[in-house]
């Protein structure tokens, strides 16, 4: 028998999705302006500005001035700009998938495995955007890069430790073989 929780979950999801359909319009769809092949073209902000938003140069300069009010304003403004950029990037990723879906839905030769792979990639990118939004909200854009540097160093150390351990275990196994 189907567990009660599964039934309740299915019913709740169905009612939610029915509500979503009810809110959608019945109008015939308008054609999407299909974007170019270049993703960076659809993400409007130039690379240099993105580097500046998340870089520490401006923050170091402001810190040297030793004006707490200015520092607070700077952090607040930088945070809102960074969040807007992440939102725009998530939006452009969504647009890429929407354009893909509009073509794929009519393809009689659609490959299900490829399609699922694309959706997994899309969801992981959206999750990354959500994580970035959260990190910016919690620690601010400048510290996001420090945090990623810290994680990078930590993961490098971990992989090194793993490599050393694996090496040691392999050599011990080899010794066992020789001794046996």
């Amino acid at each position: 028998m189907i567990p009660a929780t599964v039934s309740i979950l299915a019913a709740a999801l169905l009612l939610l999705i029915v509500f979503r359909v009810w809110k959608s319009t019945c109008l015939p769809e308008a054609g999407l302006p299909y974007g170019s092949d270049d993703a960076e073209e659809s993400v409007s902000c130039p690379k240099e500005i993105v580097s500046a938003i998340f870089g520490s140069d401006d923050w170091e300069y402001i810190s040297k001035l030793n004006l707490p009010e200015l520092q607070a304003v700077f952090l607040r403004e930088r945070k809102s700009v960074a969040r807007a950029w992440v939102r725009a990037t998530a939006g452009s990723i969504h647009r890429i998938m929407r354009e893909h879906a509009q073509i794929a839905r009519c393809s009689s030769d659609l490959e299900i495995s490829d399609e699922l792979g694309l959706y997994v990639r899309y969801l992981s990118l959206q999750a990354a955007c959500a994580a970035l939004q959260l990190s910016i909200g919690l620690v601010g854009p400048v510290r996001v890069r420090y945090l990623s540097e810290y994680v990078y160093v930590l993961s490098t150390r971990l992989s090194y430790a793993h490599w050393v351990m694996k090496d040691a275990m392999e050599s011990r196994e080899l010794q066992g073989i020789w001794q046996g």
Partner: protein, 255 residues
């Protein structure tokens, strides 16, 4: 309270007749054959149940559950009709939907077989409400999967199909919730279902009457040069664009 039950019953009865008469008048019936078969069946079922209740009360439970199961089976046909009509112009999404619905169907079948083989008394002990809940839950999951695909692939709903989905989805959703809580509470609140069931069904009938008042063709995709492209080329381009977006996003956190 008996007046309220009777009023709900008469309203439902009236709306079913109105739907069928209107469908004959507007000639919409051949476009949605299973849906109108369902409405006709529910109408005939109501008359049969009423007659049995008055003249052969001993047979009522048997007739009630027999007609209830036939209704659930025809209801599965409505899900199929939503799939068939909604995705007729969208072979790519139809392919995904076929896979998804097949997986769901085999999962439900496997679960039923495993339950029956591990505990042979299961069939004997399962109540009619348990079985109906299981069947309606499978319908609910199939509807969720199908509608999610409609939303993900931006499949436009025609007014008629939207109405069928709204009404049937609402009815199934409320039924599943109620059939789950009913036995758990020791049938203490059975009388609530006596009102809630016809009320929900009446609401579904009202939605169907409004949305199916006049026929409307299912919108077709907007013609575009890129729609003619082979899927592999489209997928490769999307993969490339997502890869580029990932690289762009990575620049923020790349040390």
């Amino acid at each position: 309270m008996a007046i309220l039950t009777l009023a709900l019953w008469y309203i439902g009865f009236g709306l079913e007749i109105l739907l069928l008469v209107r469908a004959s008048y507007t000639r919409i019936r051949p476009s949605y054959p299973i849906f109108y078969l369902y409405i006709l069946f529910v109408l005939a079922q109501s008359i049969l149940r009423l007659a049995v209740y008055h003249y052969r009360e001993g047979l009522y439970a048997y007739i009630y559950w027999s007609t209830e199961f036939i209704g659930v089976i025809i209801g599965c046909g409505i899900v199929y009709e939503i799939y068939r009509l909604g995705l007729a112009s969208f072979p790519g999404t139809a392919r995904m939907a076929r896979l998804l619905l097949s997986v769901l169907f085999f999962m439900a079948l496997a679960k039923a077989l495993v339950d029956a083989s591990t505990d042979p008394r299961w069939w004997a002990e399962a109540t009619t409400i348990d079985i109906e809940r299981a069947l309606r839950t499978v319908q609910a999951i199939a509807l969720v999967a199908l509608t999610a695909l409609f939303l993900v692939y931006d499949i436009p709903f025609g007014r008629n199909l939207k109405g069928i989905l709204l009404g049937y989805g609402l009815f199934i959703g409320v039924s599943v919730i109620w059939f789950t809580f009913l036995p758990a509470e020791g049938y203490r609140y059975q009388h609530i279902w006596d009102y809630l069931g016809p009320l929900t069904y009446g609401l579904a009938l009202s939605l169907w009457t409004v949305y199916l008042w006049s026929p409307q063709t299912q919108p077709a995709p907007v013609p575009n040069v890129r729609l003619e492209e082979q899927y592999q080329r489209v997928a490769a381009r999307t993969r490339r664009r997502l890869q580029a977006a990932r690289g762009y996003l990575g620049k923020v956190i790349d040390p």
